[in-house]
């Protein structure tokens, strides 16, 4: 008898568990939760000064306003005014000093957001201005850092540079990026008995919100519960930042003894919260006449903003990816976390990796133009080997390199060589429109580089009717984590995925979790959930063997049924029997990633369990009169190992690529000379829209993908890596700019139409100057 295959098992492209709720508007986000009676609404008053001493804050006028129930400043926080995730002293409300325009100074809870906002305007704040530091260069000059620098090296870069037949120096500016999650930061804090606090938070890191709220309230962690069913996007922006939002709501709720909701509107969200770090890369590179890189000395300086937040780990990851796919024999990498009077920059999809990778891709592109080769040839020439030339600057040997295969496949399927010829012909016609083409690879390290974070827990209950409730430490921000984990559990029990109830993430069920970050959600929580399911399954097998008097080896789960020798019962029947026989039908599961370690003192180890790989080709057309451009075609090939859900994974690849493209093209953050961010809403900050999708978009999951590392069903993490496929768009633009300039040109990121036009103008001007001086 052919066994029925379950619905929604592993490798099936089932729909997102909430798809139906999304399209009907029934999916509940934090701001949609029914408010308990008496709920107050909070407004946060932000600093108008980039750097100033807080001489005094007078809130008497605020308190007197109608509807106001509570006002708090730093002085009102009962516990410790600190949400620093790595380093201490990162205040939620400014204490004694303000360090950026947008910093929370005080918060008001009132009967409506309108009343709270109006009341807050009555605060009288006396600032004594101090000189601000806004730019990376200023901070570097002042040696003003939020964390100590970190250095990685192998060999002797200085000596090798001196001996290199060709050498060049330069710098690249890499812009930041706002997360622009469609759902802004939001939290609802509800006081409980015993002074406890329940916090609904739009967060990727419920344990952090729990811990920080407890710290602010001066409570043990067990007194605070944090819950989140889903976020309307996170992208890293809800890893540490929600602790600020939830913390303010919780302190107000504590003071008012009433529930308090704090939802930032878009402008306040963008003014207040951290973003992707902008970077300045300075390099000194040696290479041979073939374009083989011999040595590199690279400085990566990030604008951290006013506090450390996660900046040190982010800059570490930038250094970890400053090799990308290339072997650099003698190398020295230094990362700086520059302290500036701006928003405290934070995690964002890729976590520094994209910036490090863009720097090395820029260097490779420059080398190619210096030696007069197609950049793809130079890329391939410098690729890591599989058994030799395969050690990274942090001394981890790369054991899973499949770049050669991926590159060959995409080079062929994208007709790269033929299109390169066509483009050269087009660019020779004298049109004001120039075309550009680029192929870029990526290698992205998977695991938290802070090794202890690589752990996860899950909790599974099987109820007496055979229905299953699943909980784990991961959070759902749209990436499809919940459905993937449900598929893993369905596969273990061999039941249809609808039989697995996905429940909201809460610190009350699974404790001490890591952020859903570093692309690790499925790798970690999938393993933990599988472990929990296997524990219950083991008990059920033992019970079935006893009950049906067969050896345990004769008990199998398949197609919603359990087969015990000659007997065949439904999963629900077996569970019912097991319940009556007093078998425990609930289990936790736990997972810790094996093998990973990193010693920061020596900058060496194995920070990553494995690497994800992908390749991309992009073609653009550029208007050399205005700098306007269009991505006419993009071909992506990405390795997700054995996919747990190809539909979800494809969505991550495409969505990541477009988000990366936005970062490198139209998304520009702009501060004025006083340090005020002027791009704080979609009217001024431009993420891609539907028309920006490449007209011809060919995306494939690598069919032969299989993770050599023992990951959940041999899949690979997919959250962050595809963002960096968008490097192809940036270098295609640079290719067109170079074609328009008749030689080399310099292009910083983001490549807005303005930067593209000015790059062409500058390159032409310097070529003319060069020609004039040669005469």
């Amino acid at each position: 008898m052919a066994e029925m295959r379950i619905r929604g098992g592993v490798a099936e492209g089932v729909a997102h568990d909430s798809a139906r709720k999304h399209v009907t508007g029934e999916a509940i986000y934090t701001d949609d939760i029914a408010e308990p009676p008496g709920t107050l609404h909070a407004y946060v008053l932000m600093s108008t000064q980039a750097h100033a001493r807080l001489v005094s804050i007078d809130v008497s006028g605020v308190v007197a306003m109608p509807g106001v129930a509570a006002v708090i400043t730093a002085a009102d926080i009962p516990g410790r005014n600190d949400v620093g995730p790595i380093f201490p002293n990162e205040p939620v409300l400014a204490a004694g000093i303000v360090e950026y325009i947008g910093q929370p100074v005080l918060a008001v809870a009132a009967t409506s957001i309108k009343a709270a906002r109006a009341a807050a305007q009555r605060a009288r704040i006396d600032y004594a201005p101090l000189p601000p530091v806004l730019a990376i260069e200023e901070a570097l000059a002042a040696q003003s850092f939020v964390a100590p620098p970190h250095e990685m090296k192998r060999g002797d870069a200085g000596r090798a540079l001196g001996r290199a037949p060709r050498r060049f120096k330069g710098s690249l500016r890499i812009g930041g990026q706002d997360h622009f999650y469609l759902e802004g930061q939001a939290a609802l804090a509800i006081p409980q008995e015993d002074g406890d606090m329940l916090v609904h938070s739009s967060t990727q890191h419920p344990s952090e919100v729990q811990k920080m709220t407890a710290r602010l309230l001066g409570l043990p962690i067990h007194a605070v519960t944090c819950e989140v069913r889903r976020m309307g996007g996170g992208f890293g922006g809800k890893e540490t930042q929600p602790a600020i939002i939830a913390g303010i709501a919780a302190v107000l709720a504590w003071k008012a003894k009433r529930p308090v909701k704090l939802r930032l509107d878009r402008d306040d969200d963008m003014l207040m919260t951290g973003k992707r770090h902008d970077f300045l890369a300075r390099y000194d590179v040696g290479h041979d006449d073939e374009g083989r890189i011999l040595a590199m000395d690279l400085v990566l300086a990030a604008r951290a903003g006013h506090t450390a937040d996660l900046s040190s780990s982010i800059v570490d990851r930038a250094l970890f990816h400053a090799d990308n796919c290339y072997f650099i024999p003698d190398v020295r990498l230094i990362g700086y976390c520059c302290k500036t009077n701006t928003q405290s920059n934070t995690a964002f999809r890729g976590f520094g990796g994209p910036q490090g990778m863009l720097a090395i891709e820029h260097v490779i592109d420059c080398i190619a133009r210096r030696v007069g080769k197609d950049p793809l040839e130079v890329r391939k020439l410098n690729y890591y080997g599989t058994t030799t030339r395969n050690v990274t600057p942090y001394h981890q040997a790369i054991e899973d390199n499949n770049l050669a295969e991926l590159t060959a496949a995409l080079e062929a399927s994208s007709a790269y060589v033929a299109r390169r010829r066509e483009i050269e012909q087009w660019n020779g016609t004298g049109s004001v429109l120039k075309k550009g083409l680029a192929f870029t690879p990526l290698k992205f390290g998977i695991s938290f580089t802070n090794t202890f974070l690589n752990q996860a827990g899950a909790l599974i209950h099987v109820y007496s009717d055979g229905s299953v409730a699943l909980n784990h430490g991961g959070t759902e921000m749209g990436q499809g984590l919940y459905i993937k984990i449900a598929q893993i559990v369905a596969e273990e029990f061999q039941i249809d995925v609808e039989r697995v109830k996905i429940t909201a993430t809460t610190t009350a069920k699974v404790p001490n979790t890591s952020a859903t970050a570093a692309s690790s959600g499925t790798d970690l929580n999938g393993m933990a959930a599988q472990a929990a399911a296997r524990e219950i399954k083991t008990r059920l097998i033992a019970f079935a063997a006893r009950h049906f008097q067969v050896p345990t080896g004769a008990v199998r789960f398949a197609g919603n049924r359990v087969i015990a020798g000659e007997t065949d019962v439904s999963f629900a029947e077996l569970v019912g029997l097991a319940y009556k026989a007093r078998v425990s039908l609930s289990s936790t599961g736990f997972y810790r990633t094996p093998l990973v370690h990193y010693d920061r003192a020596t900058a060496s180890g194995r920070p990553f369990l494995y690497f994800a790989y992908g390749v991309a080709v992009a073609e653009v057309i550029v208007d050399t009169l205005t700098g306007e451009y269009k991505v006419t075609r993009a071909d992506l090939l990405h390795d997700v190992g054995r996919s747990i859900n190809p539909a979800i994974d494809l969505g991550q690849i495409e969505g990541g690529f477009i988000q990366g493209m936005g970062w490198l093209t139209t998304e520009e953050l702009w501060w004025d000379k006083q340090g005020a961010l002027k791009t704080h809403a979609p009217s001024t900050y431009k993420i891609p829209v539907a028309r920006d999708l490449p007209a011809d978009f060919r995306v494939k999951i690598w069919e032969r993908g299989e993770n050599p590392a023992e990951t959940i069903h041999r899949s690979k993490a997919v959250g962050e890596p595809p963002l960096m496929l968008a490097n192809a768009v940036f270098f295609a633009l640079k290719d067109a700019v170079c074609a328009a300039s008749g030689g080399d040109a310099h292009l910083d990121a983001p490549a807005t139409p303005e930067r593209v036009l000015l790059a062409i103008m500058d390159a032409k001007a310097s070529a003319q100057k060069l020609a004039a001086s040669a005469e």
């Binding site: 509940i28 009169l625 205005t626 702009w670 829209v689 978009f697 807005t752």
Partner: protein, 483 residues
């Protein structure tokens, strides 16, 4: 005697009172109605998460479905209309609307927060066009931001929605009944909605409007509200008395004579688009890039002018085309060339009690070459860093008239008089154009701001004049095709 605001919330009649007149439809839905499907993403009409559909009789016994941004639409403007939200699409038995079904099948939602807005934009598209092309789909979705999917699956969903081949939905089935119910809500005399000492007036005729303005010359006039909405949602301003132009029949008229196109100040950009596109294809393309369909469904020509933003996209082409603006006030009507209407940053020739009533745009004269160009970081739904419009008439090889107007280059939309003068009477050649390009540098001293640097604004403005010359004199493409 004050009125309640009466409208249909899907198929239930509502008569609401007691809300501040500047309560947004979004606030009303999420507040009083406890309908949480419609989301706030930006409160400025730029992300589309709040998209709802408003239906009105189309004049032919049917209904017209228009997507609008509920975050900046004021509640009293629903009077006499039907409001449809994402909650209304699913059938009572749980069957999804073809639009919703297509979104699920195409894996077109990830975080889902933007999804209700996309669904509503697609619902409006589906009612307007059962087989939209990819280009029409891109235009229809220009006002909806998605941060997760990268849009490919959403575009696929639009194709699936077409392929599903459903000819009608339950809204079509009820269309006649809905039209009748809306007809019964129609007022003979304009709405007068009063609450908490604040007044919202929606006159239905020009006479009614003139009378109100004579009585209340300082009343705040509200047109499409797509910029005005932000004065409320972002600047938190309060208004004692609002006079809404959206119901004034005369202002919604668009008529062409042999010599002129007359556009009522209350004509929306959506409704103006076909006529503008027919006479000046380049103007049509600019309008398609002007904000997004939900904004253009509300925003009016008159509002774009009276608002006097230096970066509005309407004035440059209208000035270059020699449009005249007609104002009406207590003293009757007067007109003046549009370029003279703008005095300084956000300051105009409007006197107290006066309003913009229509635009008169001369139809193209023989020999007229016209083009307008918009430069922005993003192609669709972005505010111009610079907007340029060029009109030249060449006779016997010589330029007999040149009118160049720019937005984003000065405190007002402004003509480039020196560049025009450099060309007057000169041959239409590259040499003359280069002289005009040089003169343009003396016409303007643009600013550095978040949209562009002064250097880019000037360099690109000069190059746009070069582009105009290339397009009028050559056959090779001088720019990237929009569609």
């Amino acid at each position: 005697m004050a009125d309640a605001v009466r409208f249909l919330l899907n198929d239930e009649e509502r008569a609401v009172e007691g809300f501040d007149p500047t309560t947004t439809v979004l606030e009303y839905l999420r507040g009083a109605e406890r309908l949480y499907g419609t989301k706030e993403g930006c409160a400025e009409g730029d992300c589309g998460a709040c998209t709802v559909v408003i239906t009105e009789p189309d004049g032919d016994g049917g209904l017209r479905y228009e997507a609008v941004n509920s975050c900046i639409r004021f509640l009293p403007t629903l009077d006499g209309r039907q409001l449809i939200t994402v909650e209304d699409l699913k059938a009572a038995d749980g069957t999804l609307h073809p639009v919703q079904q297509a979104m699920v099948e195409a894996h077109a939602s990830q975080c889902g927060f933007c999804t209700p807005g996309f669904v509503m934009s697609m619902f409006a598209l589906w009612h307007a066009n059962k087989s939209p092309s990819r280009e029409e789909t891109l235009q229809a979705l220009a006002g909806n931001l998605c941060r997760c999917t990268g849009y490919r699956p959403i575009l696929d969903a639009c194709q699936r929605m077409v392929a599903a081949g459903e000819a009608t939905d339950s809204f079509d089935d009820r269309a006649q009944e809905t039209a009748e119910r809306l007809a019964s809500l129609r007022r003979l005399v304009g709405l007068r909605y009063v609450t908490g000492g604040k007044e919202f007036l929606a006159p239905r005729t020009l006479a009614e409007l003139t009378e109100i303005m004579a009585r209340h010359p300082t009343a705040q006039v509200l047109a499409g509200g797509t910029d005005f909405g932000l004065w409320v949602t972002k600047q938190h301003r309060e208004f004692e008395r609002l006079v809404w132009l959206g119901e004034v029949a005369e202002l919604r008229r668009l008529a062409a004579s042999d010599t002129h196109l007359e556009i009522g100040a209350g004509v929306t950009w959506t409704n103006a688009l076909p006529a503008l596109e027919r006479h000046w294809p380049s103007f049509g393309e600019l309008v398609r890039r002007f904000a997004s369909p939900p904004i253009r469904n509300s925003a009016t020509i008159g509002g774009n002018i009276a608002n006097a933003s230096p970066i509005g996209d309407g004035p440059p082409p209208l000035i270059a085309l020699g449009a005249t603006v007609v104002l009406a006030g207590p003293g009757g009507e007067r007109d003046l060339p549009l370029e003279d209407f703008f005095h300084d940053y956000r300051r105009t020739d409007l006197k107290a009690g006066e309003i913009v009533v229509r635009l008169r745009v001369p139809l193209p004269a023989p020999g007229l070459e016209f083009a307008c160009y918009k430069l922005s970081k993003r192609l669709d739904q972005d505010i111009s860093a610079a907007c340029a419009a060029f009109a030249v008439r060449v006779q016997g090889g010589l330029v007999v008239e040149a009118r160049f107007a720019f937005g984003g280059m000065a405190a007002t939309p402004k003509r480039a008089r020196l560049a025009e003068a450099a060309l007057a009477g000169r041959p239409w050649t590259q040499g003359s154009v280069e002289a005009a390009v040089a003169a343009l540098a003396r016409d303007f001293t643009p600013l550095d701001d978040m949209r562009a640097s002064a250097r880019y604004r000037m360099a690109s403005a000069q190059n746009l004049l070069r582009r105009f010359y290339l397009e009028t004199s050559g056959t090779a493409p001088a720019r990237i095709a929009y569609g």
